[in-house]
């Protein structure tokens, strides 16, 4: 059953970007993950800049794994799900930790998806999976390109299913997308990934 996407077992991290229309989608994904999901997931979702609390709590209602907003230089650990905090850019730093910054807005956003995806691509290279969901601007497109350029796996939510498809289609325009999937299939892909990664380790 776990071979629909023919995934490799070398992946070490997952990054997810989403904006307008992605909240329900991400909630659904998070509610479907097994509690022992292996790979760390870092998410950058566009959010209100000056509301520090409430967002992660709202996501945690449905999530099987407790999501946390990382501190600067927090080590990235497997089995954890992280969310970019309000008004900070979230990046991945060499040495496998997060880095937060207050740089200028990018694509009108802070946190910006491009920053998370591109910095993660630098650190993880081909061992990274990038997933881009529904959204109304082009944030994340360049990040997806960086992931592809370094040999990672690129996945978008099927534009036909997106509430607003600008984000995934912008990515499609500038780079190769490995899989364009509806939400249920994204979940299936993550489950297959988890299966592969776990079994690779057991050998």
């Amino acid at each position: 059953m776990h071979n629909r996407f023919q995934l490799d077992d070398h992946y070490r991290a997952i990054v997810i970007g989403g904006s307008a229309g992605s909240f329900q989608v991400i909630s659904k994904i998070l509610s479907a993950l097994p509690t022992d999901f292996e790979l760390p997931i870092a998410m950058c979702l566009h959010r209100l800049r000056h509301v520090r609390n409430g967002f992660v709590e709202a996501l945690n209602i449905k999530s099987t794994i407790t999501i946390k907003e990382p501190y600067d230089k927090e080590p990235i650990r497997k089995g954890n799900i992280y969310l970019a905090p309000a008004n900070y850019h979230l990046g991945v730093e060499i040495g496998n930790s997060f880095a937060l910054t207050t740089e200028e807005l990018l694509n009108n956003s802070r946190p910006a998806i491009d920053i998370l995806l591109a910095s993660a691509a630098q650190v993880y290279g081909k061992r990274l999976v990038g997933i881009l969901l529904s959204g109304a601007n082009k944030d994340g497109a360049l990040g997806m390109k960086r992931i592809k350029d370094r040999g990672g796996l690129t996945v978008i939510q099927d534009p036909k299913e997106c509430l607003i498809d600008t984000m995934p289609t912008s990515a499609q325009k500038i780079t190769t997308i490995d899989h364009s999937l509806d939400v249920q299939s994204i979940i299936d892909l993550l489950l297959e990934l988890n299966y592969k990664v776990k079994n690779a380790k057991d050998i």
Partner: protein, 275 residues
């Protein structure tokens, strides 16, 4: 544009160290890379080598511009309003209870919004004359801006909202005049503040303080440099005095953590408890 490689960044920090005596070798790589990339776009360098060539020269004026761009100056007045509430309701009253003059260091004060916030807070506590403030930054150009106290009027919207969220006594516009798109802060608020150039990477402790604010500065450093700078702060604090860092920073992974006690974990205020 092609992404800059780690090896190139290393060559760049080495060159800057040699030619200009600033050490960015332990800045966080991910944001440093973006800053360099941004500078290349801003000044339209055709290649990374062209940037290297420019920095190899001894054009001090250009280097000052480079320094201003490589650092991130984004700031707000009353950033994280609940932090300022904690200062007003807990930390400052504790410090002021002895009726002595207290000293505060804003390390990495950027364009000075944080310093004005402190001055306004103290004024509303009737304590402005009981405090000595030193504000430092690596970047002379941004310090000039801090001294001027002139900000873009459109930024005042966020500042005003933050001020309301921390429940200031009046309205923020009691402290500035607006003219032609600019907000002129009331300079008497900061007339006793001493603004100085100070590089946290290369300089040592220069005085002792009751409260140090170093917010959203060490996030641009790697863990090694954070550890080093925290030693400087530790040395610059009296025993039982306070260190405030950004709300998304933490001392957990720092060597010196055991010499500090968490006073407020949400607002990231620490107390030095061991010498």
């Amino acid at each position: 544009m092609q992404e800059i490689e780690i090896s190139q960044l290393r060559a760049l920090t080495d060159l800057i160290k040699q030619r200009h005596d600033y050490d960015f070798g332990n800045y966080a790589m991910s944001s440093f890379r973006r800053r360099v990339q941004r500078i290349m776009e801003l000044y339209k360098f055709a290649s990374f080598d062209a940037l290297m060539e420019k920095l190899r020269g001894s054009d001090a004026k250009y280097f000052q511009e480079f320094l201003s761009e490589i650092t991130v100056n984004v700031t707000e007045m009353f950033r994280d309003p609940t932090f300022w509430v904690e200062l007003r309701d807990t930390i400052l009253p504790a410090l002021l209870s002895d009726n002595k003059i207290i000293s505060i260091w804003h390390a990495g004060c950027s364009s000075g919004e944080e310093v004005y916030s402190m001055a306004i807070l103290l004024k509303e506590m009737n304590a402005l004359d009981k405090v000595r403030i030193v504000a430092t930054d690596i970047d002379n150009a941004i310090l000039a801006k801090a001294r001027d106290g002139v900000y873009s009027a459109k930024n005042m919207e966020v500042n005003q909202k933050n001020y309301e969220r921390m429940q200031g006594l009046y309205s923020l516009d009691a402290y500035y005049k607006e003219q032609a798109g600019k907000a002129y802060l009331d300079k008497t608020l900061v007339k006793d503040v001493s603004y100085r150039e100070h590089n946290l990477v290369s300089e040592v402790s220069f005085a002792k303080f009751d409260l140090i604010l170093c917010r959203n500065v060490m996030i641009y450093f790697n863990q090694t440099l954070q550890n080093q700078v925290l030693k400087v702060f530790h040395e610059s604090l009296y025993k039982n005095s306070f260190l405030a860092i950004g709300s998304k920073e933490s001392l957990i992974w720092c060597e010196i953590a055991n010499k500090f006690l968490v006073v407020n974990n949400e607002e990231k205020v620490y107390k030095k408890v061991k010498d």
